[in-house]
């Protein structure tokens, strides 16, 4: 059975069906991310002074990932225009760069950035003092409850030079890196210990929700583009215009993913 309007435009909309379909899907995506951005604004505006973490994310890594996504966006559109000019070899090269960019983004996110957060801690002391830093040995997901359960009496803590609640920390590029002298902290003196995980604070809860959801979109878009680049490219020989349309639709999704990141980056990393 032939699906109508996969190549020719429908007379009423002036679009082939998949194109209208992807725009309707992107409209629903706008509402999804819009709801989460609204939550972010609500949490940020509603937070007590000095409780909203700032300067805890790695700006060079975030900048790198932004450049990677921007590059992938331009290679997608250049690949599509290469197909329009009947240059399949150039399309293949451009989309190969896109796929590499998608992979690089996910590797940086999942293997560098997230693990860095899972080994970075905040400790709330019984005397009201608070510090961020690293625990010797860089353990993952340690909490005060786990310390008690494992009967660990003390930890060796390498505090950061600044705590985010102090004014200087927000604009200190090295806030997450520079350390004061290591110190021994007794478990009995710890009121709460948490890595920078969603349970740490509303900031990290919304940060992980939004960036992980965005990461899933990168993964999904990357898989579709890779499929069209690889096994799906057979269609180019039998029905080239339909193939171009598929590439265009996947490209529109990819640009949307880039567009979301353009807002995520300043909101989480810089503000």
């Amino acid at each position: 059975m032939d699906i109508p309007y996969t190549i020719k435009a429908r007379p009423d909309t002036g679009l082939f069906n998949a194109k209208l379909g992807i725009w309707l899907f992107l409209a629903s995506e706008v509402m999804l991310f819009g709801g989460l951005f609204s939550s972010y604004i609500l949490l940020r505006v509603g937070s007590d002074p000095g409780t909203w973490p700032q300067g805890l994310l790695n700006i060079p890594i975030g900048t790198f990932n932004t450049a990677v996504l921007i590059t992938s966006s331009v290679t997608v559109v250049l690949g599509w225009s290469a197909l329009q000019m009947n240059n399949f070899a150039a399309y293949r090269k451009y989309q190969a760069v896109t796929i590499l960019c998608a992979a690089a983004f996910l590797v940086v996110k999942c293997l560098i950035e997230y693990p860095e957060k899972f080994t970075h801690y905040e400790v709330w002391m019984n005397d009201g003092n608070r510090m961020t830093g690293h625990i010797e040995g860089k353990p993952y997901f340690l909490t005060d409850k786990k310390l008690a359960a494992r009967k660990i009496e003390s930890i060796k803590f390498h505090p950061d030079a600044h705590h985010y609640a102090k004014p200087a920390a927000a604009h200190d590029a090295a806030a997450g890196e520079a350390h004061a002298a290591a110190m021994e902290i007794k478990t009995a003196d710890i009121k709460r210990l948490s890595a920078f995980v969603p349970g740490h604070s509303t900031y990290f809860a919304i940060y992980f929700t939004l960036t992980a959801l965005h990461g899933l979109h990168v993964l999904g878009g990357g898989i579709v583009i890779a499929y069209l680049w690889g096994p799906g490219a057979r269609l180019w020989k039998t029905d080239p215009q339909r193939y171009i349309n598929r590439v265009e639709v996947s490209g529109l999704f990819w640009h949307f993913v880039d567009l979301v990141w353009i807002f995520l980056f300043p909101v989480f990393y810089l503000l």
Partner: protein, 120 residues
């Protein structure tokens, strides 16, 4: 992406894509550079950062997604989306000043709109 493209117009468009790409990189550099400028008030930082982000997003939407030259059906879809997005964001943000009676905030122990004690 309009459906009819001549070879020449596609070639011309490719130069535009490269120019937009450079513009996006410059925008990113400006955003990061702004982080290191110490503005006296936070709202200034937020406003400038969001203006740059909006310009970058508009470039992507207008040129990479070809919204600068699209069909009416897509504009109509986006107009409806924009309306509902603004309405939803308003509801979310409005919720901050319209909490249910007796809501207690853990951090401040503040009880907004607490019912007045009954007269005896």
């Amino acid at each position: 992406m309009s459906d009819t493209h001549s070879f020449e117009s596609i070639k011309k468009h490719r130069n535009v894509y490269i120019a937009v790409f450079v513009g996006l990189l410059i925008g990113t550099a400006l955003t990061v550079g702004m982080y290191y400028v110490h503005f006296s008030q936070l709202w200034k930082t937020i406003t400038i950062a969001l203006i740059i982000a909006t310009i970058k997003a508009s470039l992507v939407a207008a040129f990479f997604m070809h919204l600068s030259n699209e069909r009416r059906a897509i504009y109509s879809t986006l107009l409806v989306t924009a309306f509902f997005l603004v309405a939803m964001m308003y509801l979310f943000i409005h919720a901050r000043t319209d909490v249910p009676l007796g809501t207690e905030f853990r951090a401040t122990k503040q009880v907004p709109h607490a019912p007045a004690p009954a007269d005896k």
